[in-house]
């Protein structure tokens, strides 16, 4: 994809309980991630059974998906931290490659 002028990066998708999203966001902040996309009311089926979308009187039990794209040099920190967070709580993490057109949007080159 280089020929298209795209830059290879890493995409991490995390599905977690709405209650735990704050912890994931804190981790992303601490790892120097510059932004993410958040989808609330995610539904599905998995280890813990069926997860419906939104509940009428409870916003905290639902699932949220966070999608974050980051340069390689930050992946270790994010993945390590996420693995620790998800060790004892429901949630999944998918890591894959992604190609972006504006790498500076995703914190490339400003790693600490």
């Amino acid at each position: 994809m280089n020929e298209l002028g795209l830059t290879r990066m890493v995409k991490v998708e995390v599905v977690t309980r709405a209650d735990d999203v704050d912890a994931v966001r804190t981790l992303l902040h601490a790892s120097g991630v510059s932004g993410w996309t958040s989808l609330s009311g995610v539904s599905g089926f998995g280890h813990h059974g069926t997860h419906e979308g939104r509940l009428l009187f409870n916003d905290r039990a639902g699932l949220v998906m966070l999608i974050v794209v980051l340069p390689y040099d930050r992946t270790e920190a994010v993945v390590t931290g996420l693995r620790d967070i998800l060790a004892h709580r429901p949630g999944v993490m998918f890591v894959s490659e992604a190609w972006v057109s504006r790498p500076d949007y995703f914190g490339a080159g400003s790693a600490d």
Binding site: L27, A30, T50, L56, N58, A61, H88
Partner: protein, 1404 residues
């Protein structure tokens, strides 16, 4: 006549002390004591009038001689004495009357009342003393009794230490007084006061200087002058009435001393100057100490230091008359300020929710107002004749007035009328103050003039103080701020101790950490934070499960983990439950059922000629105090020991403490130091300074946007108490908190896989602040920010700084936990778990086995005993007893529900349908209302399904009116007509606060405030209900609702609400939506009494909004299209049930159409009847058993710590048709939610109920549970020592420490007795099990709560008459029918304790 009156005042006060001690019933004793003290105060008022009219009073009863020096015993009262007597006796009467309700039920009440009356009597003896001897006796006795009062909570180590310190200090002051008196008596040849005063001018200078200096020292100690001021703030661990008595009455004795001995002080060379200097230094320092404080009582205590300094400075100026006026004004003000300090939460919350001032401030208005003020002051001075001290007083009044005007007029949108009113009031008060002060000074006829030079000096100091305050608030004077925060204590200089190893690491010596370490630190923080639940600010108290983060693990494991990590108690001890068995509240069958959860019991074994099986042995152990009973007979114990010695021993183990114990704990254990506690103090102090800063007039330096860690990094280095090496460490730590935490963890040598454990343990040292940090992270921007990572980074930095210093000095090693563990580890032989010999001997004694029988016991029988005692450890017993108590309650509840009488439906449609909150308190009102008239009731969460925030235009904060599980979907504004009057009210509040915070003006302010406080006190006495907090009745209307929510959204919420309730057809002419709230005065926990479903707010506003929505024709039209037809003749009306008064207030009744008025009037009548019935029922449950008619008075009672029981007793949640519970008295212990399974084929409504209200109810239930089982660590402890922090974010106990979380002891117990029965919630669902299964299957988090034992479910199958409960292996099992037992009512059960108070009475 006046002599008799003066003697009468003394006798009445002394009799009050005796009465408090001898009367057997504490409540009656307190009442009699209060009456006698009030009588004394009335007598003192009469005496003052008598003295004013008839001149001084003198009467000597005896005139003995000591060492040839004669002295009089009797009374001698001049005008100032009479005024002082009125102040002391008045304050004592107010404090005693207040404490009668405030400390009701507390075991220390009688002693408290006796000491207050005794100290007042001693002070009056001193005030009326005709001689130095009588004066000294009164002075010393009052001081000793005061120390006793300060030690009210003597069970706390820090209180005992403070009492010892204060005792020693007072002794020093007493000795100084005696020395001064001895010199004066020698010089005068008489110990009579009149002789000493008269002879003062003739005595030699050195003698006078020494005597005057001694009196000054005595006065300095009692009135907390710098440098002996430290004792006064340390008294805040005593209940609030002690503080009021102390600050208002007792510290003033120093002023009384100086004024009484004015001739001596004036004649003694240098003493006046020294007095002036001490006073000015104390006034300036005290002002700075008070300016940095963030808690109400802490700031008041330091302000007393400043005010006492000012009073002494007035004496130093020779202005004794002015000092006398200040003494009285400050005394009354400070008493009122302390006693009303609990109302700060409500006041500050109202200020934040009111429209904020709109700037820039209109300058012209301020100029005009200032000109008016100056004109009035100038005129007053001109009329009174300007003197040097008069001009100083006028300048102070001007400073206070200007500060008030500047604060009040800062709002550009303040109406001109309000601005003029404030200006007029300020000018009138300032002018009146000058005139009244002048008249009072003249009337007192005390010397009141100072030399112009001294007055100019004092004015310069006060001006400098004002300038200093202006400068330090603009510049980052961190060093000075820390000095003020530490109350002027200088760091203890430690001589460099020789280190054992000269090559030990010096400096920070930090280990680097990379980004991955920072991420792992962040993840470890997340895991650690699971051990604490978010703590909501007090003004929106939300009940949460303190173990909410551990709900993924079963209750048993989670509580075990918490006990290990935090050392808390998670179950009520068995001893508390045993009494319930004796009382018949728990049956043998319940215990047997509870034991079913244990592994199968052993078979029968021969014991003492009988065959006993394992179950019988277990019952024996459970029913008797085997692990902790009285000591067994020594021969029996020896026999057991011999048998145990012969058993094979387990392998001793050496625990691996690395990572499981913090560095501070390891060092403390090994070296006997108290570093852990010191780190706790430093961190808690920092959090209070940082998070409470909106309340400080000189907040901790830093930008408003700075987080905790960043601010701390900037200022911590200047803290003299932070330990050596802190400054270097702070410099070296990274700016990012996660990175810094990683560096700290690595430097401390904590293995990576133990980071979470280490941080958990660290966090649980201060669970209150950890809880606030969790809340703050989820609510950014609402209050001063604190994150869990910041908190831990600051904690570990302090720990490293202090630990490194100690490890280097004492052990010669670096501060790594593995090094310290290795260096300090002693071979710990942990004995294998097993019962101790004493427990076994007790069990043997219960089986009638003597020593010989034990010796001869077969091995099999001994093993059976051994195993039973080992298995039923105290903790295991507590768990079994909890299960038994739950079994007992649930058995009775099911039995009761089975016996519901057939529903009595009146023919035809009901008069009204009334929807109440599911709150347990609504159960009582619904029951009484249904009995009163043809009204059908429903239960639904009190926010009526409308998750919104309400916020006034321009306000700093709004209110989230929905359960904590939800986020508001929209913000509803407030009608401008309701907002604008609040602008004017806030201008008055700002004027008051502005004058109070003025550095120099505050000295004049307290005198004016004293007059206002006197008026308010008298009003409280005469018409207390006039001071009942007003209920904010203004709510948005359809216009504001339409602006916030689209029509579709409104229809969505309206339909969801009606369908979940099951109210979709057969609408009555009137539908009442009745929220609830509680009116209480001066109560920091007021929000805890409000509606949990409304996020700790009053429910009337939510009801009002929902009613407006359901009355909206467009909403009704859309609902009709969706199958819910609300007829045109149906009116939806809102109401609010006040759970303190049990009155139901119908809202917007005036707007009722004429067609509905008769129905509304009829409903009102039924509601009145229901309210009266519920009051009569509730009155019997309150500890002081008031008559039902007196319940409403509790709402206005500022001393009432228990306005009502709120949700105490809650134990079940019933979701089902009301028919299943109608006519049953469930004792206000059950949440009742309406539900009709027949209209819910997809279980949508059931899912909404089970994932919403049921979970909220479970949290409330667990909050009550944990606040009951460990009121000190998981509850907030006693309310009586609480001090409100910051802008109402929480309370601290006494002199500081952790932020208190959970419910106060007064919400769950009385005195030493626990009243709430801590049972986990039972959800009772009237639905087919298939529907319940569907909901559980779709909601894993809910299933975890049920499977993990956080709550229980029982299902009543509508097709049959059986009860079902979840089977251990999945699916459902029929609840076995209980064995025949005596029928009991479910409402009568209450836990009664029998163990000593000290064990369970929570203290700060």
């Amino acid at each position: 006549m006046s002599v008799a009156l003066a003697t009468g005042v003394l006798l009445a006060t002394a009799s009050a002390a005796v009465c408090a001690l001898v009367a057997p019933d504490p409540r009656r004793a307190a009442r009699a004591t209060g009456l006698l003290l009030a009588l004394a105060a009335v007598g003192a008022a009469g005496l003052l009038a008598g003295v004013a009219a008839g001149g001084d009073v003198a009467g000597v009863a005896a005139r003995p001689e000591v060492a040839g020096v004669p002295f009089g015993i009797g009374v001698r009262v001049d005008r100032f004495d009479a005024l002082f007597m009125l102040l002391v006796s008045g304050i004592a009467a107010v404090v005693a009357g207040y404490a009668r309700r405030y400390l009701d039920g507390e075991p220390g009440m009688a002693g408290f009342q006796a000491r207050v009356a005794g100290a007042a009597a001693a002070t009056l003896v001193m005030a009326t003393a005709p001689s130095l001897v009588q004066f000294a006796v009164g002075w010393i006795v009052a001081g000793r009794l005061l120390v006793g009062l300060i030690g009210y909570h003597r069970d706390q180590q820090r209180v005992r230490a403070a009492v010892r310190r204060i005792g020693r200090l007072f002794l020093l002051g007493d000795l100084a007084l005696l020395a001064g008196f001895a010199l004066l008596a020698t010089a005068a040849g008489s110990a009579d006061l009149a002789d000493v005063r008269a002879a003062a001018g003739d005595a030699p200078g050195w003698l006078l200087a020494t005597a005057g200096g001694s009196l000054l020292v005595a006065g300095m100690v009692r009135s907390a002058q710098v440098p002996v001021h430290g004792w006064l703030p340390s008294t805040l661990d005593a209940p609030t009435p002690v503080s009021a008595f102390l600050h208002a009455g007792m510290v003033n004795v120093a002023g009384f001393l100086m004024i009484t001995f004015a001739p001596v002080v004036v004649a003694a060379p240098g003493v006046l100057t020294a007095t002036l200097l001490v006073g000015l230094v104390t006034a300036a320092a005290g002002t700075l100490f008070a300016a940095v404080r963030t808690d109400v009582k802490g700031a008041l205590a330091r302000s007393t230091v400043a005010q006492m300094g000012f009073m002494l400075a007035q004496c130093g100026l020779g202005a004794f008359g002015l000092a006398a006026v200040h003494l009285v004004g400050h005394g009354v003000y400070k008493a009122y300020a302390f006693l009303s300090a609990g109302g700060t939460v409500q006041t500050r919350s109202q200020a934040a929710e009111a429209p904020q001032p709109v700037g820039p401030a209109p300058r012209r208005r301020l100029v005009v107002a200032t000109a008016v003020l100056l004109g009035v002051l100038g005129l007053a001075e001109a009329l009174l004749g300007a003197t040097a001290t008069g001009l100083l007083t006028a300048a102070l009044a001007g400073a206070a007035g200007f500060a008030a005007l500047r604060a009040a007029l800062a709002d550009r949108r303040l109406p001109a009328g309000a601005a003029a009113a404030v200006t007029g009031a300020v000018a009138a008060l300032a002018g009146g103050y000058l005139v009244a002060g002048h008249l009072a000074t003249d009337w007192l006829a005390l010397p009141s003039s100072g030399t112009p030079l001294a007055v100019a000096g004092a004015a310069a100091v006060l001006a400098a103080l004002t300038v200093l305050r202006l400068v330090v608030t603009r510049r980052r004077a961190a060093g000075l701020w820390w000095w003020a925060w530490r109350d002027g204590r200088l760091p203890a200089r430690r001589t460099a101790a020789p280190t054992r190893a000269p090559d030990a690491p010096g400096g920070p010596g930090l280990t680097e950490a990379g980004p991955a370490d920072a991420a792992r630190a962040a993840a470890a923080v997340t895991a650690a934070a699971d051990h604490v639940a978010a703590t909501w600010p007090l003004d929106s108290f939300v009940a949460v499960n303190p173990l909410a983060g551990l709900e993924r693990t079963p209750f048993r494991q989670a509580t075990t983990r918490l006990r290990e990590l935090g050392g808390v108690r998670t179950h009520l001890p068995a001893a508390r439950w045993r009494q319930r068995l004796r009382d018949g509240e728990i049956d043998e069958a319940d215990l047997t059922a509870a034991l079913a959860g244990l592994p199968a019991a052993t078979g029968p074994v021969p014991l003492g000629g009988r065959l006993l099986d394992g179950t019988q042995l277990r019952m024996l152990v459970l029913r008797h105090p085997v692990p902790d009973g009285p000591p067994p007979a020594s021969d029996l114990l020896d026999a057991v020991r011999r048998r145990l010695a012969a058993r094979p021993a387990g392998t001793p183990a050496t625990p691996d403490l690395v990572g499981e114990r913090t560095l501070a704990e390891l060092l403390d254990d090994a070296l006997g130091t108290r570093i852990g506690a010191r780190v706790d103090d430093l961190l808690a102090g920092w959090c209070a300074a940082h998070c409470g800063r909106p309340a400080a007039s000189w907040p901790v330096p830093g930008d408003g946007t700075q987080g905790c860690w960043s601010r701390w990094r900037e200022v911590a280095a200047a803290d003299p108490a932070g330990g050596t090496g802190l400054a270097e460490l702070v410099d070296a730590l990274p700016a990012a908190p996660e990175r810094a935490l990683a560096v700290l963890l690595r430097t401390l040598g904590v293995p990576r896989d133990r980071w979470a454990a280490y941080l958990s343990r660290s966090l649980l040292r201060l669970p209150g602040w950890a809880g606030y940090a969790r809340w703050s992270q989820g609510h950014p921007g609402q209050r001063p920010a604190l994150t869990v990572t910041d908190l831990l980074a600051v904690r570990l930095a302090y720990e490293l700084a202090l630990g490194a210093d100690l490890a280097r000095r004492r052990l010669g090693i670096g501060p790594a936990v593995d090094l310290v563990a290795a260096a300090t580890r002693t071979p710990v032989a942990v004995a294998p778990a097993g019962p101790d010999a004493a427990a076994l001997a007790r069990l043997a004694a219960l089986l009638d086995l003597d020593a010989a029988a034990v010796a001869a016991l077969p091995e099999e029988a001994l093993s059976a005993l051994y195993d039973t005692v080992a298995e039923l450890s105290p903790q295991r017993q507590a768990e079994v007893w909890l299960a038994a108590a739950e079994h007992a309650y649930r058995r009775r509840l099911r039995h009761r529900l089975d016996q519901a009488p057939p529903a009595r439906r009146s023919p035809g449609a009901p008069l009204a349908q009334a929807v109440f909150c599911i709150d347990v308190r609504s159960e009582g009102l619904r029951r009484h209302l249904e009995a009163a008239g043809p009204v059908r009731t429903f239960g639904f969460a009190g926010f009526f399904g409308l998750p919104v925030r309400t916020q006034a235009d321009g306000a700093r904060r709004g209110r989230d009116r929905c359960p904590v599980l939800m986020a508001p979907v929209a913000t509803v504004g407030e009608p401008p007509a309701a907002t604008e009057p609040r602008r004017a009210r806030q201008a008055w509040r700002r004027a008051f606060a502005g004058a109070k915070a003025s550095p120099a003006g505050a000295f004049a302010f307290v005198e004016v405030a004293g007059v206002l406080a006197t008026a308010t006190l008298l009003l409280r006495l005469a018409a207390p209900r006039r001071l009942t907090p007003t209920v904010d009745g203004t709510a948005a209307t359809t216009v504001e609702l339409d602006a916030a929510l689209t029509l579709d959204e409104q229809v969505y919420y309206a339909e969801a609400t009606l369908r979940t309730i099951g109210l979709t057809t057969d609408f009555a002419p009137l539908v009442l939506l009745c929220g609830h709230g509680a009116t209480s005065s001066n109560n920091p926990y007021a929000a805890a009494l409000d509606c949990g479903a409304c996020g700790g707010n009053r429910g009337g506003v939510s009801a009002h909004l929902a009613a407006a929505m359901l009355n909206n024709p467009r909403v009704r039209q859309a609902l009709a299209a969706r199958g819910i037809e609300i007829p045109d003749h149906t009116l939806v009306l809102a109401g609010e049930h006040d759970t303190v008064t049990d009155r139901v207030r119908l809202l917007d009744v005036a707007a009722t159409p004429a067609t509905h008025r008769p129905v509304v009037e009829a409903l009102s009548a039924y509601l009145d009847g229901a309210s009266a019935g519920l009051r009569a029922e509730r009155a019997t449950r309150l500890p002081d058993r008031p008559t039902p008619g007196r319940l409403p008075a509790r709402a206005a009672d500022w001393a009432q710590v228990r306005p009502e029981w709120a949700l105490a007793g809650n134990a079940a949640f019933v979701a089902g048709p009301r028919d299943r519970t109608t006519g049953l008295d469930l004792g206000c212990r059950t949440f009742l939610h309406s539900y009709d399974w027949s209209t819910d084929p997809e279980a949508a409504a059931l899912e909404a109920i089970m994932t919403g209200p049921l979970v909220v109810a479970a949290w409330i239930n667990l909050q009550y549970y944990f606040s009951s089982v460990d009121p000190h660590r998981l509850g907030a402890g006693t309310k009586t020592v609480h001090t409100v922090l910051g802008d109402g974010l929480g309370v601290l106990a006494g002199t500081g420490g952790d932020l208190r979380t959970g419910l106060p002891w007064q919400s769950v117990g009385v005195g030493g007795d626990l009243v709430h029965e801590p049972l986990r919630l039972l959800g009772v669902l009237h639905a087919p099990t298939a529907l319940v299964d569907a909901v559980l299957h779709r909601n894993p988090a809910l299933r975890q709560l049920v499977d993990g034992g956080w709550m229980a479910l029982t299902v009543r199958d509508p097709h049959g008459d059986r009860w079902w409960e979840p089977a251990p292996a999945g699916g459902w099992q029929v609840v076995p029918a209980p064995a025949a037992s005596r029928p009991r009512t479910v409402e009568s059960v209450q836990v009664r304790s029998t163990s000593p108070v000290a064990e369970k009475e929570p203290t700060a």
